[in-house]
Each structure stands twice: as C-alpha cells, then as structure tokens.
C-alpha cells in the first residue's frame, strides 16, 4: 500500500487535473507519522534524482524539524545531497516562524537549499514562497515539482482552517505542482479540521494502533504510556479516492526499525477490509459452490412429489394458466389428484387458499411454511 501511494505521488498529475495529494495522519498512540513522512520524502527524493518521477524537484516546507535534520536524513538513507540545490529546496519555517529572532539578529545567513520564512501565519505569502522556490528550481516551462509539508498541525495553530484549505487547493491546482503530501496529528484538532483536509486529498494514510482500545475517547497520556504502546508497530490504513469517485481501502502493518519504517502485508487483508466495511452479520451473504448445488437439489415439499410421475414444482404462472383453462372451479382445488395411488404413505397436499392469491414469482413460495 505504501508502495501504491508512493507510486501515485511519483506519477503525478494528468494535464488539467488536480495534483494527487496524500494526507498522512497519526495520533499520539501511534506517533510514527514522522517515519511515514520520512519514508515518502526519501522515496520521492530518490525517484527525482533517478529522473523516474514526473516532478523534477521537491519543495519541503519544514515547520516541525530543522532543515539540516532533513538533509542529514537524506544523507543517512544513501541519497546524494551533494548538489541538492538543483533538486530540493527547503522553506525553513522552523528556525524563526514568527519573526521573534529578528531583534536578536543571531541568524547566520543561510545559503544553498534552505530559505528562511518568518511569517507562518500568512499562508498567502507562504504559497508565493513555495511557488517561487519551485520555479527557481525547475524553471518556468512545463517541468513540475512536488511539495511536502511536514506539519499541517503547526500551520493550523498559526492560521485558520480555511486559509490552510485554500493553500492546499491552490497548490494542487497549480500547473507546475505534480504532487503534494503533508503530515497531520489528527488528535490535536477537531474532527472537522481533519475531515476538511481529507476531502482535499486523493489519498489518506492513517496510522492506527494494532490493538484498538475499547474506549474511543480522545487519546490522552494514559494511552501514550500504556503497555501496548511499548511497541513500534501499528496498522497502516490507506484510503484511495479514484477519479470516478470509488474509494478503495487497504490495510497493512508497519514496524519502525533503526533504518526506517518497514511495511508488512497483512495476511488476511481482504477479510479485514471487508470486516471494516460490512455491517456485522451473523450469517453469510455469499454461498459456496457446494452450498449452491445442495440448495438446488433440495426438493421442496409444498406440492406432492414422486411416485414415478412427473415432478411438478409449484409454479405460480403455470398454475394460473391451468386455472384459467379450468374455469369451472372457483374455490380451492387440489392440484395433484394422487391420493388414490399413495395410500399408506405420508402425503402432502397443497391446497391453494383461494383464487385471489395471485402468484408472484418474486415472492418466496416457502414464506409461510412451518417445517
């Protein structure tokens, strides 16, 4: 699944369509969204370097972690950052997001791939800065770039939900943006805020604990320090929205290791997804091949059968035609006059209640049968 979403981001957008957008969301119980973000970031960086991706460059909006940490991360994962200036630009909203450090005047002049941004609350300015960085990197032509935002939660703290929505919308619909992905800590916001961002994304990857707690309350520290949290594993649930509106849900497991996050296929994946979608039923909706054959072989007892004579199974329409032919009878008639030949054996007679009981092929003929 992780592979699928990464490929979707790599392939980018079609002409005249919005860029694919991935929302990675986690909670304090499974706070490994950062690891998924790093995984996607490294994947995109390596495909951009290998020129396998639609985007020719990557603009990273760093709010949560320092830009140098990201460059170190890429280096650690074996990605060549020697000429990073040509394919990655970091908009540094981490070092001084509100301009507090102006008066201290202690910032060393940043160069190369990092650009300082000092007013995170103004998302219009931030949009212009992202686009400018992207254009500087890939040029004005048709070449595209990918945008990564490492903390939508941080943006929501400084700006309103509508302005963040507008920023993401503008980025997605911008011609030169091939794909966009962001991380959000869903328990820090109202459900409304997370939903809005999910509507705006074509893919949602949510990290959930393997053991769901019975209490569906908001996560708190009890959860954070609970024993089952002493693991670096969880469920990775991906929701893909197709162009035609179809939504596909997939699930796998992840484990965070020293070299990064690893994704493992869940053995009974389709069953799990089915369980999540279908309401809880106490019976099977589907029949197996054997069950279907057995069912077809069952001889229904509501009309007299056997005796070497032709088996006549109740067929409303045919009996109606019969009745129409035999217009003399008006009340109930025994349909099969076998009684004289089957003495000493159990017999089942079917008597039509009345002629106004209209046969209907849609009705279950066994509806009132009490066996």
């Amino acid at each position: 699944m992780a592979e699928t979403i990464c490929r979707a981001l790599r392939d980018g957008s079609l002409e005249g369509e919005h860029a694919p957008a991935l929302a990675i969301k986690d909670t304090i119980r499974t706070a490994f969204g950062v690891d998924v973000f790093d995984h996607v970031l490294c994947y995109m960086a390596s495909t951009i370097l290998a020129q396998k991706s639609q985007s020719r460059g990557l603009v990273l909006v760093a709010l949560d972690r320092s830009p140098s940490l990201y460059l170190n991360l890429l280096k650690c994962r074996g990605i060549d950052v020697f000429d990073s200036y040509t394919w990655i630009r970091v908009l540094d909203c981490y070092t001084d997001p509100l301009g507090w450090k102006e008066r201290v005047n202690a910032l060393s002049q940043k160069e190369s791939s990092e650009t300082l941004f000092k007013d995170v609350s103004d998302l219009d300015k931030l949009f212009d800065a992202v686009i400018q960085l992207g254009k500087e990197m890939v040029g004005q032509g048709k070449a595209r770039f990918c945008v990564a935002i490492d903390s939508a939660s941080m943006m929501l703290r400084h700006a309103s939900l509508s302005s963040l929505g507008s920023l993401i919308n503008k980025l997605r619909s911008y011609d030169q943006v091939s794909s966009i992905f962001w991380l959000i800590h869903s328990d820090l916001h109202e459900i409304r805020a997370t939903s809005v961002l999910e509507y705006m994304s074509s893919m949602v990857a949510s990290l959930e604990p393997i053991f769901q707690s019975s209490n569906e309350q908001r996560c708190n520290s009890e959860n954070l320090l609970s024993i089952e949290n002493d693991t670096r594993e969880g469920k990775f649930v991906v929701r893909l929205k197709r162009r035609n509106g179809r939504v596909k849900v997939m699930c796998e497991e992840f484990r965070v290791e020293e070299t990064g996050i690893k994704f493992l296929a869940v053995p009974s994946e389709s069953e799990m997804v089915n369980q999540q979608i279908l309401p809880k039923l106490q019976f099977n909706l589907q029949l197996s091949e054997k069950e279907r054959n057995d069912k077809e072989n069952v001889v229904l007892p509501f009309e007299h059968q056997g005796n070497g004579q032709t088996i006549q199974i109740y067929d409303g329409r045919r009996s109606l035609t019969l009745k129409q032919n035999d217009s003399t009878t008006s009340v109930s008639v025994p349909e099969e006059p076998h009684t004289e030949t089957d003495q000493g054996k159990g017999e089942i007679h079917y008597l039509r209640d009345s002629d106004d009981e209209l046969p209907d092929s849609d009705e279950d003929p066994d509806d009132d049968l009490d066996i």
Partner: protein, 260 residues
C-alpha cells in the same frame, strides 16, 4: 544507591544515533497533585551540575524562588550560589512575569519573547567559541505557570516552546519541562498537553502507587523514551516502569517487587 539512581538514568539514556546529529532532546516531566515530579527536576539538575559533567544549566523558574532550589540542591551536594558565580548555573526569576497575549490584534508580544531573547543570548554566550563549549540544559519549572503568565494563551506558550526547541538543534542543548497532567481535563485544554507530548523525545510520568499508599514506596515512574537506541544503533525498549522513594538527600529508584 548508585545502581538505583542509574535506573532513571538508564531509561533516559542518550540516543547514541542522535548524538551524532548534534541535536539535543526535549524531556517532559508530567506529574499530578498526589505525586509531585519536582524531585525529578532536582535529580536532573544535580546530574547536570555534578563535578564530573561540565554542563551549564539555564533555569527558568515560574514556580519557586532561587532560595528554594538552593536549599534542596545543597542537600543533594550542589552549591547553586558558587555554581552561578562560576557561570554554570543561570537563574531566571520569572515569578512575577505577566505577559498578556497579543494586544489589540497587533504583534506587541513582549513577556515570553523577551524571556526567549534572554535565554537565547545566554546560550550564545555559553556556546561561543571564546568560552569552552559545554553542553547546555534549559529547565522550565513549570509549564502550567507559563500559561498562567501568558493569561491562558496556550498558543503563545507553544510558540515560546517551539523557539526553545529550535535551540536544541541550533546549539544542541537539552530542554527539560515540568508540567501537571491533571489540570487539563477539558478537551480544549488537552491540546497543550498533547502538543508538548508530540514535542518531547522523552516523557517521564510520576504517579502515586497504583495499589495504594505505602511507607516504603512513594510512587511510580513511567518513562517513555521515543527514540532510544543502543551503541549499535539498535532500537531499545520504549517504556520503562519502576518505583521510587524520595529521601532527604536523594531518591531511590527500584523495580516493583524488588523491595521487601
């Protein structure tokens, strides 16, 4: 005794892989009314100021005056007056800080911004090439009173914390925060607590003994070390549970059931 002490130290042990990045850590101590976590702050302060280490502590006090910490640390074997004269202990008395949030929609924030400037200047002086570069620990006692000083604006407090966090990557200092967990009951206020939990690399939680009162055990600690790894870069256990007994001149840490 040394072995017991090391139980907490083991749990919050440095992440060997992250030291190479030069980035410091954020440690959050959470306590509750029944069990104060102040002793952990004193323990970590003593550890940082011990003779073996060359760390400098910047202490931002919202809860208690200097004399309070001085008396406690004296019993633990540290003289704060001497250390502050040597420049190893910098104390910011913020007991009377009053910094209302944005005034009239403008950006006239002062109190916490000024405080950050002071801390930043102090770290620059300590980490400057002229002085011998040493590790820096910034301690804030406690967050709930920072929020009180900010007139309840948790966003303002979080901005301040973010700026303090930037120092961990700029000069590699450690940030230690004390906060009370049980004062955030409503979901709106819970956000501050959650935000700080996301921010922290290590969460230490002090709780009363789950099985009730005991004379020999004063409470239990749960330590979550989000990114702990050993010298081979292998990830270690994240959660450590043990109990403690606060004594006059130190604290004993021991596993549950190991005391008779």
């Amino acid at each position: 005794m040394e072995q017991y002490l090391s139980l907490l130290d083991q749990a919050i042990e440095e992440d060997k892989t992250r030291v190479s990045d030069g980035a410091g850590r954020v440690v959050l101590i959470q306590d509750c009314v029944e069990t104060s976590g102040a002793f952990l702050l004193h323990h970590l302060m003593k550890r940082a100021l011990s003779r073996e280490s060359s760390e400098t502590v910047i202490f931002v006090a919202f809860a208690q005056p200097f004399s309070h910490y001085d008396r406690i640390l004296k019993k633990l074997g540290c003289n704060l007056i001497t250390l502050s004269q040597n420049g190893r202990f910098i104390f910011f008395d913020m007991l009377k800080l009053d910094c209302p949030d944005e005034v009239g929609g403008g950006r006239t924030k002062s109190g916490l911004v000024d405080l950050f400037h002071k801390i930043h200047k102090a770290t620059e002086v300590i980490a400057s090439p002229e002085t011998k570069k040493s590790c820096i620990t910034i301690m804030i006692d406690d967050l709930s009173l920072v929020e009180v000083a900010a007139h309840g604006s948790s966003n303002y407090v979080l901005d301040f914390l973010h700026y303090c966090q930037t120092l961990t990557s700029e000069v590699g200092c450690t940030l230690i925060l004390l906060n009370h967990e049980d004062i955030y009951s409503s979901s709106e206020q819970l956000t501050l607590n959650l935000e700080v939990e996301y921010l922290a690399d290590i969460v230490i939680k002090a709780k009363p003994l789950a099985t009730g009162l005991a004379t020999d055990v004063h409470g239990q600690l749960t330590v979550l070390n989000k990114r702990s790894s050993n010298e081979h870069g292998k990830l270690k256990k994240r959660i450590h549970n043990f109990q403690f007994k606060v004594k006059e001149n130190g604290v004993e840490y021991f596993y549950s059931g190991s005391r008779t």
